[in-house]
Symmetry: D2
Subunit: 338 residues, 4 copies
């Protein structure tokens, strides 16, 4: 850690900082510049609490040198991690498109969906049984019944399932239904107790980015899961909140190459929630794959106009199929496949 | 709800929208303008799902006319709600300053804190036993032991306590320790399962604004609690996330008059977390009270430089006392008291 | 325009709004709903001033139905506009990559740059003679001498030039040097006097998006140019300001399909300024083309480490060449060419 | 400047950075930590171009230690600067409320306004003759005729005038009309040619914050004016752009104490443009004064419902008068006067 002292900081103040650094077991290196004194803390700086240092008299500001995340960092694990989801690899050369409806509605709707997802060439299926809704008066999902419907429909096509866990008390039920990938939604990215619980199991976890989470906070949220022992973590960019009102969120494509540099874990993108409109999905999907994403979560509904939730962002089966073709072409250009 | 059709929408498309509106039990009023057709849905529009309407062919966009929140809305409850916290009124003419340290550290620290809080003229005390920390490697709070320490220290001074609940499984323990006000933190504002649980009890709840929550999402989060039966809800503005990096968050003072207009429930402000630096706290506290806040959550630590968490945003006892004086003056100008 | 009255608005207030609408020469249609009265203003709503309506007693809010932009809107001009830049088409099937250094430095640097730009397959060249710099103490560009250097260097390779105009008093000089495309920078997107002046000539104008401009404000800024008579306008997305600090801006790829829907004018992207780091440029460039951009503004410097400005975002000649290959592949997938 | 090298940077890379630092005439201090090497550049770091350093091989990132602004910085000028505006002091103990309409409309409207402004106890008057409007089809201000109307009306009451300059070619006209304070609007905060021109005169300048300008960019924009020789600069906070849509902007009160710490120049606030609604103005005005602002720019119109521009944010004369009373009370609490 580098600590910059205020212009005119006294010797006693400098001494105070050096003393505090040593209390934490690190060494201090003092350089007196023409306008400021700078102190370097040498050793394992994760032991130092930046806020405590900043509160010391005479300190202007401080900067971490070492990244605060460790297990998820590419710095300590150079190769890409490829996660095995019931035989489907995620994070390798092959790109995975995870298709399916926003919500589980009925057995028929899920069976139809599974058929179309499979037919389009997807190897994984998504669907929500528990739905985080802004309003307490809106449809909250089918719950456990929805898990049952989803499991059966997906099994008919041999598709592993991805579904969202909101409440820590439901984890055992998710394990009972052999949910193949647990999704942690954007509103729960920093629900630390939930992260700690999924850290104790080995089921792969999709960690969606918080609505306005920084890259660093997101990596640290993943570090919570990893610190518990579960290293099967998949980052999912889903758009961030900005001042723009034309679309729901701004898909942050820059996050894709940045995450691929910072972490060895797979990175996927949700183009459906990002834009919020079905007509934006193909362009955003192509952009995500072109930027290096390892996969997509795409909403598809057999009859979008009749969907119970987020209807206007779902593709219909035909549109999904066509999109898969385009994505295959782009994948090839960058040396990958769909 | 007002539905605007695309330029050139066909009669069949207009008919389709009218039909859908009627399926939900509302009436439709079609006005054909020079460039667009506009359809008004007349009746209880909370029954209509905006996303389903937007997905219909030919629809350009739609607008809710009625606010989606009801129990928390001032529209349906004109007078201010005054919440009684063990005899201390919040939301009335008297303003409440809730002082105390960020974290519970030791029995001695909490007893000292309680003494100073009381001496400064505060009637409620704050302190965290469970701490949401960005890093899994940082101090996570003293947990249940912290609740015990806090309860005892506050009882010595007869101060009701305010503390954060993060995990739904801890609610019973909070009730056992007779926590007087449960705080829902910024990261959990849309942890809907947690909101539903605190909706089932009657303990007052401070609902902090999510890091980038809109006023409307925040009111809807409160509506989750209210819909369960607990109407003792206190909104707490704590700064929002913006592009500015000089300070941690931007304290949104405009939210104060806006919430006072939209809801009958009390509104308080946390100037300590907003700015992130102790030297900003007095100015932000004065601004909040001048703008009409019903109270403040202010961090005070007996020895800020030794605090275990968020050290550089805590006032020392002397600073808190001085601030109370200034706030008293401002309260008087606007016809209130501290 | 749709005007929603407050719950409980009086008949006199409703009458007042109707009267005001009629004063502006429009007709009014009053619908009384169960909770709110809604008034529709029928006729050319561009004549109505929304702020004046909103200020009338009893009005809760209002909504424009017709888009405020006209000349630039695709609604009134269905086909793509293809702009001819000295024989190079922009906005058609062929995608244009505009390469070159951030700043004009020396004759040798520009001649080398022009050679590399041409060799990489680009048909247009960029370079800044006037530089908007945050600090008054930083290099402000070579000025008129820079225009001269750039013109000569580009002419040797037969490349049309793109360069930024900051000061309205410099326009004549730009015309003297036959600048082929005038760039209006992000800080001047709403410098309305500058927009009006470039509206009076016929030179193509690249209009960069303001740092935090909405899509609608951006289209309206273009409308300023178009209203003056110059319809040769090219939109350039260059990243928007958000809370994220890892990269300089967030490239808003969603803006690409949205603009292609809203306007008939070409849309290009500046991946270099968006991310701010050379290593991010290939991924962002691929994403932009995949999302449907008509071109790119890419920084290339013969020796990036020696550049006088924005050194760490420039590609070297080899990297530009390689990128051109990848972009060609993606263009083909979506039925276009480079 | 502190330069952090990548983990694993080679000796040659470290040597390269040291060499570059020395080329700029500074000294280098190399500390090799356990995980990273850190290089300190010692000397006048304003000479170093951060982007050039960041582009060198092996550099991870760098941090300025010294602030980039100098003339406007409190670090180099400890006392508050009090600007004399025709005998009215701004920046001292006395707070100045600048009242008046958004736009100059007619002679009668301005004379009435001036009378009310004076009667309310304001000592300075505002009014716009040139209006920056999002739409080219909206009222653009009365122009030079407006200046004439304003000058005459204000002179009748002996009020100095504040009005916005948008076009550098109009500066001479502003000087002819003896405009007492020139306002640079939010869209022109980084119109560097305009800043340079007002830097050459001695008329006081109100520099509004750009819609999403950082504190640092804002201080640097002022430094442009100061570097030209004009030190009569007044900062005006007017709300920043965020994701919140309930109000036009978020008034950033935190900027007030922060600017008072960073600069010796006066800081005022525009509560009218911030919120965008007249009913929010009193709360925001009180908050601004309580947080330490040296003055306010408040819109007042004799008949708000008939205003030609921004009607719903103007107070009426009675509301302004009442507000002045409240502000006087708050000023007293913090040892100032109105």
């Amino acid at each position: 850690m580098i600590i910059v002292m205020e212009n005119g900081a006294s010797d006693a103040q400098i001494e105070g900082v050096v003393k505090k650094i040593k209390e934490f077991g690190l060494d201090a290196n003092v350089s007196r510049g023409t306008e400021r004194t700078v102190i370097g803390a040498i050793g394992d700086e994760r032991k130092l609490d930046q806020e405590m240092i900043d509160a010391l008299p005479g300190v202007e500001n401080s900067m971490h040198i070492v990244k605060p995340y460790k297990i998820v960092a590419r710095e300590w694990h150079k190769e890409n991690t490829v996660i095995d989801i019931k035989g489907v690899p995620l994070g390798g050369k092959q790109i995975q498109i995870i298709g399916g409806p926003c919500s589980v509605e009925t057995q028929a709707q899920m069976e139809q969906s599974a058929k179309f997802v499979k037919a389009a060439g997807c190897r994984l299926m998504r669907g929500g049984a528990f739905k985080p809704r802004t309003s307490p008066y809106a449809f909250q999902g089918k719950g456990v019944e929805g898990l049952d419907i989803f499991r059966k429909a997906a099994d008919q096509q041999g598709l592993p399932i991805v579904t969202e866990l909101m409440d820590v008390r439901m984890l055992d039920t998710f394990l009972e239904y052999n949910v193949d990938v647990i999704q942690i939604g954007t509103r729960n990215m920093q629900n630390f107790d939930l992260l700690k619980e999924v850290g104790k199991i080995s089921t792969p976890v999709i960690l969606k980015r918080g609505m306005s989470a920084t890259i660093s906070e997101w990596l640290m949220a993943a570090e919570y899961i990893a610190a518990g022992g579960n290293h099967n973590i998949i980052f999912c960019e889903r758009g961030i909140r900005t001042y723009e009102t034309y679309y729901r969120n701004v898909l942050d494509v820059t996050a894709i190459p940045v995450l691929k540099k910072e972490t060895h874990l797979p990175v996927i993108v949700d183009p459906s929630h990002a834009g919020g409109k079905a007509w934006m999905v193909p362009a955003l999907s192509r952009a995500a794959i072109a930027a290096g994403a390892d996969g997509l979560l795409v909403e598809m509904h057999p009859k979008p106009c009749e969907a119970w939730c987020d209807a206007d962002q779902a593709l219909n089966p035909e549109e999904l199929k066509q999109l898969m073709g385009e994505l295959g072409g782009i994948a090839q250009v960058i040396g990958r496949s769909i």
